[in-house]
């Protein structure tokens, strides 16, 4: 009886050790590799560059609704937040004044539009 209990104890211990090794393996050594991510998963500098592209297009085309539609690809809570974050990042990393101005213009333009995401 005592031997059986001890055996179960070792079994549970081994399971816990295996679980810990499995978690370390699955999270650290060989995590799931996503190769099909969306624009919303981009790193902040790439997101900022995308916002800058939208701002450049808005600067030349003057179509705020289209700019909003493009920002929708970033799927954040609010397009205004995206642009504000991008401006903050661009200011911190000393983007060219012209680029900053275009992003600020975009921010002002989309403030006047209905900003609900679907």
């Amino acid at each position: 009886m005592r031997r059986k209990t001890r055996r179960w104890g070792f079994f549970l211990l081994a399971t816990l050790v295996g679980l810990a090794v499995g978690i370390a393996f699955g999270w650290l050594i060989l995590p799931v590799q996503y190769t099909s991510t969306g624009l919303h998963t981009l790193r902040v500098d790439y997101k900022t560059d995308f916002v800058l592209m939208v701002a450049e297009l808005y600067h030349h085309q003057g179509d705020a609704a289209m700019a909003l539609a493009r920002l929708r690809y970033l799927r954040e809570t609010s397009p205004l937040d995206i642009v504000q974050e991008a401006i903050a990042y661009a200011e911190a990393h000393r983007y060219a004044p012209g680029d900053l101005q275009m992003m600020r213009n975009l921010s002002s333009a989309i403030q006047d539009l209905p900003l609900e995401w679907d």
């Binding site: 081994a14 050790v17 295996g18 099909s36 790193r43 030349h60």
Partner: protein
Amino acid sequence: MDTGMNEDTRKFRIRHEPTPKRGPWYFLTGLILGFLLGLIYTWWINPVIYESTHPASLRNDYKAVYRSTIAQVFAETGNLERASLRLDLLNDENPVYALGAQAQRALADGRGEEAHDLALLASVLQIGSAPLDAAQPTEPILSATSTIQVIPTQTLPLPTPTSE
């Protein structure tokens, strides 16, 4: 001498012989079971979530959006250096081919303006990557006042001008 054992008792005692040792299989089984549970948890139930990805890891349709936006910005600004740097982020094996193929798809879908912008960038990139002939002038391809001519490639049909 009577030992108190009859035939049945002897048989019973034979059945109670000590069982052979099983070895540490239960330990190994536990380890494997735990490891598999760990993998199931980390790969399916709670996988690592990537929130800071590179444009090269984007899904193909998002890459197309990114590429198209680059081309549209280039068509508006004429900034080839910036467009090239941005295109490099997508890690396309052959950016000119990728742009051309996307231009063809856009054209087939009736998005003529987008196709034009993509084809324009493909053409300019192709000119930029071609070795310069010594006899050719070394003027910049684009200037603020120049009109950009789309040069057809083997993969690209000339975008038909729209009546806008």
